[in-house]
Symmetry: C2
């Protein structure tokens, strides 16, 4: 009964002495908008002591990125609590400490590493989300399951849950799996954390080129990465088929290639915009050799481009 819980949640929100409403979306993260927001926020916080104040960010990914960034730099850092209101934020973006702002439409050019002191997962809030939001999160849940492959993934395969029930029941082990990797490389220094980028390299290209929601873009980027892993010889075709079956049955994910392939130029430009690229024309691409075995490998842009042509993502 989301309505009922939603009222309860609203009255919880009203208990906070200072509230600041924003409109979610990438526009919120635009650096040009930020000065105005920060001015108002700092006025709101002017009577509070930075030692004891807490920023509580209630919202989806964009709100978390924005509020997390604010908390990380206001008075050089104040307490931060995330209350993700979307499944995508609950399963992925509110964990791991990345905050982000955009510059002139280029995503996440500015940011900090600033883990929240607490992340509150509110069942009623998440269960009240429309079904389309469930789909948004499935790509990230599938991604972390494929990367980790621990006992929880076997439990996930065996049971009959789907949709929001699947998400809620596997939120905890999925987050733990992500944090196991983040904790080994919290500030992305050693490269270990890059495995979480599985599906994202080409996913980000889709996101910008087609304006797809992040979740959808990542799911499709995941299919690209799996196909690439097969073509590369890293992943056996038989294992790939099993994975595709899992993606379809448990996560309701299917390959939906864009109708309009990209030009080679556009594809490479977007690839190189991705901030995680290594030197020059080399890109660290995450392959999968089997469930639980991601592999980082440096490949050239022309190599990915050839594969993108083969997969029909780039015009031949």
């Amino acid at each position: 009964m989301p309505g009922e819980f939603s009222g309860e949640f609203k009255s919880w929100l009203r208990k906070f002495p200072h509230r600041y409403a924003v409109t979610s979306g990438e526009n919120l993260k635009d650096l040009k908008q930020v000065a105005g927001h920060f001015q108002k926020l700092s006025k709101l916080a002017s009577e509070l002591s930075p030692k004891t104040m807490t920023v509580v960010a209630v919202g989806g990914g964009s709100v978390g990125d924005f509020a997390g960034f604010f908390a990380s730099v206001f008075k050089r850092g104040v307490r931060l609590v995330h209350v993700p209101s979307t499944w995508l934020a609950a399963v992925d973006s509110s964990h791991g400490g990345k905050t982000a702002l955009n510059i002139s439409g280029v995503k996440n050019q500015i940011g900090t590493f600033y883990p929240a002191d607490k992340v509150l997962l509110v069942r009623s809030l998440l269960m009240g989300q429309p079904e389309i939001r469930v789909k948004d999160a499935m790509g990230e849940l599938a991604k972390i399951a494929l990367i980790d492959g621990g006992p929880w993934v076997r439990r996930l395969k065996r049971n009959s849950l789907v949709g929001s029930d699947l998400l809620w029941n596997f939120l905890k082990p999925a987050i733990q799996a992500k944090m196991k990797i983040v904790d080994q490389d919290p500030r992305e220094k050693t490269g270990i954390r890059q495995v979480l980028n599985l599906g994202h390299t080409v996913g980000h290209v889709f996101e910008t080129a087609y304006g797809w929601p992040h979740g959808q873009a990542v799911s499709q980027g995941l299919f690209f990465a799996l196909e690439y892993s097969v073509a590369d010889g890293a992943l056996k075709s038989r294992d790939a088929l099993e994975i595709y079956d899992l993606l379809e049955k448990k996560f309701s994910l299917a390959r939906e290639w864009p109708h309009r392939p990209l030009s080679a130029r556009r594809f490479s430009d977007l690839l190189l915009q991705d901030k995680k690229r290594s030197n020059g024309n080399q890109i660290t691409f995450i392959f999968l050799s089997r469930i639980g075995k991601p592999m980082r490998r440096s490949v050239t842009v022309s190599n990915i481009l050839r594969e993108a042509r083969r997969q029909g993502v780039v015009a031949k």
Copy 2:
């Protein structure tokens, strides 16, 4: 021969593939200006890999604060090198990792802890500074000498150097003394780092109220803190006289109280704006009980106000 060296330094600067000039001063640190600068800077950096790029900040305190902040958040952090061009930045602000921006004229409301990978101290650059800049830095050099009181302070007392020669020769031990404290509390969590605030609590009030340069404001704040320490019984009058003698002879610092005392209201407002205050009306004030023995103590605003009246800083 500063002219000659300045030419040499200029040609060193010309070797950098990407340069970006800014006008120094507090205006540079205004959050409203920052979006425009960051847009241009990110365009300049668009062809560079964040893994290998380095921001080299050449300038005084405001340039270091601004460029340090940019380096700390661009692509979630890139390499940073400081080349302080003022004595004040060389002795203090380029060390310890604090970056800062202002919101609506309120100083350092936004910032990060982001130590530079290297700080290059260029003798010719510093020695070429006009004498007024030397005076700016003396307050901070005196402050760290009073806080640390190590063997280098005895060497400093004994020798006959003054002005820029004194600064250059004691730059290294002064920085080491600061870093010994910073390393114990790099993100100002335990409070140990607060001792570096000696002279700054009231110094910041002077800085805003009278528009004094930071260096001058800190020197006068130091005199305030010493007088307060005597009044409080923490510092013996005899020891205070010896310190005043040192401040005058070695650092050319004298007490120059403002002609126009502040109103109690204005003084308290400015005190409470200081971001290092503790809860409510309590402020952590740094006293000195003798050279090398700073003391953190929580005092009420009305307590400081009474002392400010006594010292003639606030109107009676």
